[in-house]
């Protein structure tokens, strides 16, 4: 899992927690506008964050939540209990998605419906703002209810007649073979092209596509006014794919898609020239006879003959072809539905579109009276009609579980409990199927069973009510007038049915794990919540820990002093040895502890690197350059402060490379380089430092140009211009106020880049070096400390006072005979290994009057320090050891003393002032 996603998940949890807390608070103070505003912001941010990832379901739900909260915030919708419930439910859903993403790395594809339903339930609150939302007119599924059943009337309203006859016939055949037919209308958003969508491609990829058509949403404007990039196309298509498949395919745009199941009968629309051609009365009566005699083969033959005789363009021919198809599929499935054929024959007679109303009723009636499964040739009322396949499975699972519970050997006093729980589960199922009327009979059976202390009565009832493999009953039941209500409450009810089924299993001793097929996202408060694996800690707390371990290190460093005192002053050598032994142990623990705390603050450089692919892409496109970005060592870690301070300098450098360094493809080709430039960002660890290298294979920096620029801007004088080395000239780009670009672009060239970069790097004790070969490229190397917590300093003594000098800047320590110190133009200098080293007195620099103390051999102590690219000798009295200290920056009035970079507490309790070498020289 990538770190961005990890961070999102951990933040999302916080947000969800925050949202539910705010909702709870709002229950007590529903008019609190500030609280509402906060809630909105939480939802808004969470939505925004989720948009970064490929989780359309999550974003959709959150978007609906956001819109709703916005409406509430603006007073368009009133806060209510139901609103809170739905919002909490939606947040549970989001939480569940987060869990799933965390455990599986991706989101399951099955949540589209839930997301759409939740989103709709939230939006519904906005629409019905005026009327108080009615609990019983349950949300969401209301709209789904009438599309779930492929009834002929709904289907007839679809623009099916536009579909070519051949495609419709194919569809009818597929339906006869048991495939579900769906009409999918997709009206893409007008702005969708700007989001990189290709709706046409999407619809072309529809599974099991049978036919598709494209229509303009409105009539076309004159060509001159046409906006090619505002999508005004509507797509309509017929498919034999199942609903989940389609939802998966269209999951990004599910809100722009309407899915309607198509009744195969609605496809039978004869088309053609209605003029001419006799109405074959003889044929019709013959055909009706054959039909009633059950001679389908004969009927088929006579239809075929008839077809040969008629002009295929005619309406009659079309109707005949349909008749042939229907008869053939009837014959194939060996199930006669004479009503359809009858209706077709009738229409052939009347030359009108067949009237299916009667047929429909006949079919339904036929099925309710039979107990056999519905014939495959007439799927009008198959199970999938009322209950989705999933719901059906769940129902079956519940019923099977109850059977298992009831068939357990009756050997204990548990039976009444079992019966009761089974009945509870079953009545839940019945309610879910909208079959309330059966509940009393169930209760009667329960009373009977309890009286007899036997599950037999209930089992018998079950067998009667739910014969094995015949759940179609439920389907036809659901077709009853209570259908839509049943459907709308279905989701809630089946959830409760599940819950009672589960509790039923729990009540009985050894019930099979039956009804766990479907996990709902409605979590309850008592459910165990998986604790997050990472802690989010305020940085100040970590800083405090840092401070404490610093003090610990200091206190620990006091022990050696104590040991030497014990030995020297009190003469107890043994105690001294013991103290030293103990010190070693404490030292080890303290170091480990320090290391551990440091680890907490460590972050991978990918934190700053991850923004570059996008940045490089955008900038290079803008500049018309081809750039290949290579990143290495993203998992190299460094202290949080260091990493954070890297962000801006790196952006500057990368921009500079892209703008000034890499050439346009043409220029590159002319220079004999590959057209695509390479920019590499590498991070690596070198001992206790992190090194970041930014390298491009561009044109490099021309030292001559820099020199002239610098001279023109007055950064260097004429003499320097003459003798400056190429490397030094290149380094001039770090000088403030130098810009080499001829024109100022919005990317770089204002001359505020590289000097800012340098100071930012130096602020965190880093260094930056640049090498460039003209025509071959430029390389920048930043070296940064791993951590800023511990500073290694050398202690020097001057005028009996100890001072710390950071080891980073110390080059060497030498003792120089007083005789070899010369005075050149009032400043001191000495020659060290053939090089002239200017000398400065620390005492003078700090305003101390006293002269430096030479040692017994009349030598002065010189600390050679590096200052940028120069070396310089610092005259001091004596050198001491180097120590690791926790550098505390100066605070209060002392903060303005720039000569010191900070202070540190020493082991013996004294305070060590650490010099800021750059400032004092």
């Amino acid at each position: 899992m990538n770190p961005l996603l990890e961070q999102f998940l951990s933040e999302a949890r916080d947000f969800l927690q925050g949202i539910s807390t705010k909702l709870m608070e709002l229950e007590d103070a529903p008019d609190d506008a500030a609280l509402m505003g906060e809630l909105f912001r939480l939802v808004h941010t969470l939505k925004g964050n989720s948009g970064l990832f490929d989780f359309p379901e999550m974003t959709r739900v959150l978007h609906a939540g956001e819109d709703l909260m916005d409406a509430v915030r603006n007073g368009r919708v009133e806060y209510s209990q139901i609103l809170a419930d739905r919002l909490l439910n939606a947040m549970d859903f989001v939480g569940m998605l987060c869990d799933e993403i965390e455990s599986e790395g991706a989101m399951g594809s099955t949540h589209g419906t839930d997301a759409a339903r939740l989103g709709e339930s939230l939006r519904e609150l906005m629409q019905s703002a005026d009327k108080a939302p009615d609990e019983s007119s349950a949300p969401a599924a209301g709209t789904a209810a009438d599309v779930e059943t492929p009834d002929v009337q709904t289907s007839a309203r679809l623009p099916l007649a536009n579909i070519a006859e051949a495609a419709r016939m194919e569809a009818y055949r597929r339906a006869s073979a048991g495939d579900p037919l769906h009409w999918l209308a997709y009206a893409p958003d007008e702005q969708c092209f700007y989001q990189g969508d290709d709706p046409f491609f999407l619809v072309r990829q529809t599974p099991e596509l049978l036919w598709g058509g494209i229509e303009a949403r409105e009539s076309w404007p004159p060509l001159a006014d046409l906006d090619a990039y505002a999508c005004v196309l509507d797509f309509g298509l017929l498919t034999a794919a199942s609903r989940p498949e389609l939802e998966e395919q269209y999951r990004y745009v599910i809100d722009q898609v309407t899915l309607t199941p198509v009744a195969p009968l609605a496809l039978i629309v004869p088309q053609g020239d209605t003029n001419g051609g006799p109405v074959y009365d003889d044929f019709i009566s013959d055909a009706q006879e054959l039909l009633h005699a059950g001679d389908l083969a004969g009927l088929s033959r006579s239809v075929a003959t008839m077809l040969e005789l008629s002009n295929p363009e005619l309406w009659v021919a079309s109707a005949l072809r349909w008749l042939q198809l229907v008869v053939e599929s009837e014959a194939a499935t060996a199930a006669a539905t004479p009503a359809i054929v009858d209706a077709l024959l009738e229409s052939l007679h009347s030359m009108e579109v067949p009237n299916w109303e009667g047929v429909d009723a006949t079919l339904l009636a036929g099925e309710s009276s039979e107990s056999a499964p519905a014939p495959a040739s007439a799927p009008v009322a198959t199970l999938s009609a009322a209950l989705s396949a999933e719901e059906c499975q769940a129902l079956e699972a519940i019923v099977t579980a109850q059977r298992a519970v009831l068939s357990q050997p009756e050997d204990s006093g548990l039976l009444p409990g079992r019966i009761q729980s089974a009945v509870a589960a079953l009545s839940g199922c019945l309610r879910a199927c909208g079959d309330q009327t059966a509940v009393p009979s169930l209760e009667a059976v329960m009373a009977e069973a309890l009286a007899a202390n036997s599950g037999a009565a209930l089992l018998a009832w079950l067998d009667e009510r739910f014969p094995a493999g015949a759940l179609e009953f439920t389907a036809s039941d659901a077709q009853s007038p209570t259908q839509s209500a049943a459907e709308s409450s279905l989701d809630h009810q089946s959830a409760s049915a599940q819950a009672s089924a589960t509790s039923a299993s729990a009540a009985s001793t050894a019930a099979p794990p039956a009804a766990e097929g479907e996990v709902k996202f409605g979590r309850r408060a008592e459910d165990a919540i998986a604790g997050p694996k990472s802690l989010k800690v305020d940085q100040t707390k970590i800083d405090r820990l840092m401070g404490l371990i610093g003090e610990m290190v200091v206190a620990k460093n006091g022990l050696p002093y104590l040991a030497s005192r014990a030995e020297e002053k009190f003469g107890v050598r043994e105690l001294s040895r013991d103290i030293k032994g103990h010190y070693a142990v404490i030292n080890r623990i303290a170091e480990e502890m320090q290391d551990a705390i440091m680890q907490v603050r460590m972050m991978p450089v990918s934190f700053v690197f991850q923004r570059f692919p996008r940045l490089v892409r955008d900038i290079s496109r803008k500049l018309g350059k081809d750039v290949h970005l290579v990143m290495e060592g993203e998992d190299t870690e460094a202290d949080k402060n260091i990493i954070e301070s890297l962000g801006d300098p790196l952006v500057h450098i990368v921009r500079n490379s892209l703008d000034h360094g890499l050439e346009s493809p043409e220029a590159r080709a002319d220079a004999g380089k590959p057209a695509t430039g390479t920019l590499s960002l590498r991070a690596m660890q070198e001992s206790d430092r992190v090194v970041i290298e930014i390298k491009d294979d561009g044109q490099g920096i021309d030292p001559e140009v820099i020199k002239r620029k610098a001279y023109a801007k007055g950064l260097i004088d004429e003499a320097t211009l003459e003798r400056i080395s190429n490397q030094d000239a290149v380094n001039l780009i770090f000088a403030a106020g130098l810009s080499t670009a001829e024109t100022v672009s919005d990317l770089s060239g204002r001359g505020v880049g590289m000097d800012v970069v340098r100071s930012a790097v130096e602020n965190v004790n880093g260094s930056i070096a640049l090498t460039s070969v003209l025509g071959q490229g430029t390389q920048l190397r930043m070296s940064l400390p791993l951590s800023m917590a511990v500073t290694n300093v050398m202690i020097v003594v001057s005028n009996d006072q100890p001072f710390g000098v950071p080891m980073d800047s110390v080059v060497e320590t030498v003792r120089v005979p007083r005789s070899s110190i010369r005075t050149i133009k009032r400043s001191l200098a000495t020659v060290l290994r053939g090089h002239v080293v200017p000398l400065k007195s620390l005492n003078t620099l700090l305003g101390i009057e006293a002269p430096h103390q030479p040692n017994a051999d009349d030598e002065l102590a010189v600390l050679v320090v590096r200052l940028g690219d120069e070396t310089l000798g610092l005259l001091v009295d004596d050198f001491r050891e180097t120590v690791d200290i926790i550098l505390k920056p100066m605070t209060g009035v002392l903060a303005s003393l720039s000569a010191y970079s900070g202070s540190a507490l020493m082991g013996d309790g004294s305070v060590l002032m650490v010099l800021n070498v750059k400032e004092i020289l």
Binding site: F200, G213, I214, L223, L226, Y229, L233
Partner: protein, 78 residues
């Protein structure tokens, strides 16, 4: 180029992307009587399709690919 503009015919080749729509639109504005040859087209972005629909361009050749042809016929034939 996925579109070859000839004197009175635009030949769409392979995959015609969203970027082409603007060019196609301009070209059709200048050559309103031009016809379109889709024979070697395998997919075109709907922005292009919109342009063709709005321009009511005559089709010289339908795509060879049957799937695409069926879709386009629904949109482009009157």
């Amino acid at each position: 180029m996925p579109i070859e503009f000839q004197s009175d015919q635009a030949v769409l080749l392979d995959i015609v992307t969203v970027e082409e729509a603007e060019t196609l639109l301009e070209w059709l504005q200048e050559n309103p009587a031009a016809k379109v040859n889709l024979a070697d087209c395998t997919h075109l972005h709907p922005a292009n399709l919109q342009v063709l629909m709005a321009a009511k361009s005559g089709i010289d050749a339908w795509p060879k690919e049957a799937g695409l042809r069926a879709w386009l016929e629904s949109a482009l034939s009157d």
